[in-house]
Point group: C2
Chain length 264, copies 2
DNA sequence: AGGCGCTTGTGAACGCGTGCACAAATCGGG
DNA sequence: CCCGATTTGTGCACGCGTTCACAAGCGCCT
């Protein structure tokens, strides 16, 4: 994400906790593998081939094997991967062994929804504090959690041991709030505000901008539309795209896709 | 996103609407440029250098120039880019000249928030229909919009001319709903459910998984933490990362970063 | 009119990520 | 004990994306 390229160039510290620097692309896929593994465990699978796991994660099998090998993973040739072991391995690498406390700043429309979202806790996170600047929201409790004033960030972040924060304020408030969070000791921010954040080195920022996602889709829509009018004879060949045949599992072998929805 | 690599390999159709196939990475950045341009226009700038615009978008200047050049853009050497012209260009390429109608399926915690989110309409989108399967929500209106039953998807998508849908259902419901949407003619889906969707060729799916974003941040937290304990002498050199110096703009030249928060 | 400074646009090198294809390894059966 | 079926782990090549550095172009000032 950030421009930080330099690594400590450490590989595997002698013994204790294996320390390794994975390619960013691999890191971004590990959570998806983890989710797929949970789904597989829930339907009773105890081992998986790379082919099956890749299908469940929506990813190329070779890519998955390379990812897991870089992780120093313990698969068994001729058999596959042990679901439980691999789950544990990835969880450890991602630092999910402890439930991480997360702060949420900006209890507006979106913040309210995230505060009540049940999908975080089974995946390693616990929303430990809510903050807003609006006096009108301060008394409110959401899911048994009190909405505090942003001026309490410094105290609460320390006492709750928070290192990750989600930012759902209006864009004009995002930078000052980010400064407060960093000052308090937060070193990772998930930014939902449509603006660029400036943070000191050592702090990671990931951005989620829903309008941007839609605009990217819009581009492809635009391209598809103009391609359709430009070459109208291509409306029949094979990719009609509108009213396709029964949307059956036309994707991959292995796991039946109706099963994969079985996760929380 | 999907595995669809083959392009129509079309470049610039003779006259009318310029047709060009941009690299995916460029497409993903164009919306960010657009947002930065809006912010610049709001503070009165009518021309921008690639350096300034890149800073406002949080991106490398050379990358920005290459992106815009691929777009066939009209900058002026020695001066920069005309803000209004460039805004219009990018908007056209992204297909944002018309306000696109978007469907939202799954009016739960998150869906409710998105339905009320004010940030879509100024960026080219209009939420035109809400759907849910839960009887309890059917009567409800959000922002003057009625929550309909999913069985009405087929009708409403056609009459409203919807081609993009956002999916905020629980994961087990995502695939069947996606099938219904595709069947109705939707060709782009923004999926918030933590599961893999199987769609026919010609349909684009983008996934937004908030827990995954947190898990990626968690990895970096884990790495930073172990690096700190492994080499405790590095706690002083320069990147203390906790309680850093006054979080001043320690990032880049060009635009003062205190200005960039001024966008809507 | 001419020169100078500034900024764009792009050619070229580099590095990362992806995908193929195969050797190595493991299990089960005969 | 050996053999074949199966699946992992990886060396290698290719392509995309990023970055640098510079030539080309534009405006302004003298």
């Amino acid at each position: 994400m950030s421009e930080d390229k330099r690594q400590t160039s450490r590989r595997k510290t002698s013994a204790g906790s294996a320390e390794l620097d994975l390619p960013e692309a691999t890191v971004a896929r590990l959570p998806e593998y983890l989710r797929a593994l949970h789904a597989l465990a829930e339907i009773g699978r105890d081992t998986v081939s790379s082919e099956d796991l890749a299908a469940a994660a929506g990813i190329n099998a070779a890519k998955l094997r390379k990812d897991l090998s870089q992780l120093g993973s313990y698969g068994t040739r001729g058999v596959g991967y042990d679901v439980e072991l691999l789950t544990s391995q990835i969880s450890t690498v991602l630092g999910l062994t402890e439930n991480r406390a997360v702060a949420l700043v900006g209890i507006g429309n979106l913040g309210h929804a995230l505060a009540g979202y049940a999908g975080f806790s089974p995946r390693g996170f616990r929303i430990a504090a809510l903050f807003d600047i609006d006096e009108g929201r301060l008394g409110e409790t959401i899911g048994g959690l009190l909405v505090r004033h942003v001026s309490e960030i410094a105290d609460v972040v320390v006492t709750e041991g928070i290192s990750i924060a989600m930012l759902t304020t209006p864009p004009h408030a995002a930078q000052p709030v980010a400064d407060m969070l960093v000052e308090a000791g937060v070193t990772s921010i998930l930014n939902f505000a449509p603006c660029v954040l400036s943070v000191p080195e050592g702090v990671d920022v990931r951005k989620v901008d829903l309008a941007i996602e839609l605009q990217i889709l819009s581009f492809h829509e635009h391209r598809k539309a103009t391609a359709r009018t430009a070459t109208p004879e291509s409306a029949s060949p094979k990719t009609a795209s509108v009213n396709p045949p029964p949307p059956s599992p036309a994707t991959a072998p292995g796991i039946a896709f109706s099963d994969q929805a079985e996760n929380a």
